[in-house]
């Protein structure tokens, strides 16, 4: 069985898990290629205007996958990945969005991932899915093993960054990056922002380096209503972790993203209150790379000036 997984959205978070799961069940995993101009154009042309760029790109990936001779398309219906929290509603409707925008869509595997009440429900959903390809014991085993794999992967990614000698030596600017993983890790969508920052010798810290408990600790201290979007919670937690530790923060958001419209606004407000230099990048299909780079350059310039000023103060003050 060939299972197609689009290289977009939560691919950037859960791929290790999905891959291990399907391979353990004896399936072959087929991933679409990296996002290109074509992926984006196709996605944009197939979907309704108001959707956010990441979902449009997702549909673009699906349409490319179809040509790869797959038996099933894997589009989970993710409602919640943590207790009493939601993720963006677009993930709840993702299988339907795909079906409604793509003609002759292959059969979709859409487990309902709903951990609002308990993570046991997530397990049930995956095991049920697994039983289409293998008997119950093997499916459960595949699930447990994949959870472990995912965990290992996350830990390794965190440690790799923290122990990277280049990261420990203080070079010139440390920048915290806020935003959905599928924006930060997709070079085409983010207009090469991350590549550019690395080339400019900035040290970059992302939300992926923070543990769940670090985030929860910071969010717990906020005098704010409980944030019910997991992504929003991570954003706010990371912001408070970064401030004081970095020279500046860059947030990357999708222009018509519903959750970001509020959470990024809060980030902006906090940046003002805590005097953290903050730069927000809003991406849609009309964003031009040249404009982005110019604005990034200006922001770095500002950070450098600020840092110099601080150093001078320390020296003479």
């Amino acid at each position: 069985m060939r299972i197609g997984i689009p290289r977009a959205l939560y691919y950037y978070r859960y791929f290790p898990f999905w891959q291990s799961f399907f391979e353990d069940l004896g399936c072959q995993v087929v991933v679409s290629d990296k996002t290109t101009r074509n992926t984006m154009d196709v996605g944009v042309s197939l979907t309704v205007d108001g959707l956010c760029l990441p979902v449009k790109v997702y549909v673009g990936h699906v349409s490319e996958l179809i040509d790869k001779d797959i038996d099933y398309l894997f589009v989970p219906r993710i409602i919640s990945t943590a207790k009493r929290e939601y993720i963006c509603p677009k993930f709840m409707g993702l299988p339907d969005i795909v079906k409604n925008s793509i003609k002759n869509c292959p059969p979709i595997l859409a487990p309902v991932v709903d951990g609002r009440v308990s993570s046991l429900n997530i397990m049930k959903a995956y095991v049920k899915l697994g039983m289409r390809f293998a008997p119950l014991p093997q499916a459960s085993f595949a699930y447990l093993k994949s959870v472990k794999k995912q965990h290992q992967y996350e830990t390794a990614a965190r440690e790799k960054n923290l122990n990277n000698p280049k990261n420990i030596v203080f070079d010139y600017l440390t920048i915290g990056i806020l935003g959905h993983e599928y924006l930060i890790n997709d070079d085409y969508i983010n207009m090469g922002t991350m590549r550019w920052l690395k080339a400019a010798n900035c040290r970059i810290v992302t939300m992926e380096e923070l543990t769940e408990s670090t985030i929860n600790r910071h969010v717990g201290k906020l005098k704010l209503k409980r944030m019910f979007w997991t992504s929003g919670k991570r954003l706010l937690g990371a912001f408070h972790h970064f401030r004081g530790r970095v020279d500046g923060i860059i947030s990357i958001a999708a222009f018509s993203c519903g959750t970001d419209s509020l959470t990024m606004d809060l980030v902006e407000r906090y940046s003002c209150r805590y005097h953290v230099p903050h730069f927000q990048l809003s991406l849609d299909e009309h964003t031009g790379e040249a404009g982005v780079i110019t604005r990034l350059e200006a922001f770095l310039e500002l950070l450098i000036r600020r840092k110099k000023l601080e150093a001078d103060h320390a020296a003479y003050g």
């Binding site: 309704v48 509603p89 677009k90 409604n100 209503k225 979007w229 519903g258 419209s261 990024m264």
Partner: protein, 371 residues
Amino acid sequence: MKLTMPHMGNCYIAAEALFNEMGHEVIVPPLSSKKTLDLGTKYSPETACLPLKLNVGNFLEAIEMGAEIIIMIGGRGPCRLGYYAAVEQEILRDLGIQIDFIILEHPRDNFHKLQKQLRILIAKKGIKGLINGLRLAWEKLGAIEELERTSHVVRPREIHQGETSELLKKLLLQLRMTNTIAEIRKIRRLGLSKMQSLAVNREIQPLKIGIVGEIYTILESFANLNLEERLGDLKVEVTRTVNLVDWIKEHLILSSIGLYSNKHLLEKAAGYLHSFVGGHGLESVARTVMLAEADYHGVIHILPFTCMPEIIVQGALLRVSSDYKIPVITLVVDEHTGEMGFQTRLEAFVELIARRLEAEKHAEKTSLSRC
């Protein structure tokens, strides 16, 4: 303690009655207007949805009039509305305005907090005030929605344009002024018969269009640029598929005792949408199917720009439209929506439907004459 709350259609009439009965002074913000929107847009996040911007505008105008406490509803996701209040608090705080919020959360989410807030609210008149207030508000809401519904039927048939709207406005004012249940019932009864006896053209067979979409934009006539009146003037009978009385019954009363189920909606929407997606997304799809099955001539889908649930289902509606052969138009509103363009789109839509009907009738006739 002067309370205020944001506008949503004519609900302020019921809300005012409720809080008055509980012994509080209520400051009703001026009806949403261009000024409200400008104020709100200026201080709200750019890509936040229209209701939030209007909320902020309402608050600022009410504060100017002396409001001391804001009553706002909460929520637990996934729609943004659930987080409005938190962001609105921060916005006012950054403007240097100190004002208390009472945020009414869903009873199943934070029962203790709700209890505490209720205790503050009922401090003056006790439980009795609360119960009386609720009864009064419920009665008013029922009357308002029935009058509005009737106006949708009468308006396209009226002979003197504008008469229905005028009468409705008058009746709403009367409703706002009364505070006994008997009076409300009387106004409702008399009002209905008055409306039904307006001079109408009985020959007219108006087109029937259903409205689906996001609840705030459906109910708040400023946000939807007076959609219902415009359609009525174009000789269209509109049906709102979303109203507050049902919403309260389903989402507050039934769901807080765990009895609400959306199975019937999922069944109707099967093939197009298979999950709840927040807000009224699922309803929009299910109701569009129902409208098509009930032989409506067209459906208008209205939503604020960037509204997540409704955007998710927009693609589904396109497919319902082609499968059931029912014209569906999606209207996205925000602070940039211009009246002219809006009216043109509505007229074009109505004309398209009329032409289609004409063609169908014609086809029928020719096929009949052939036999």
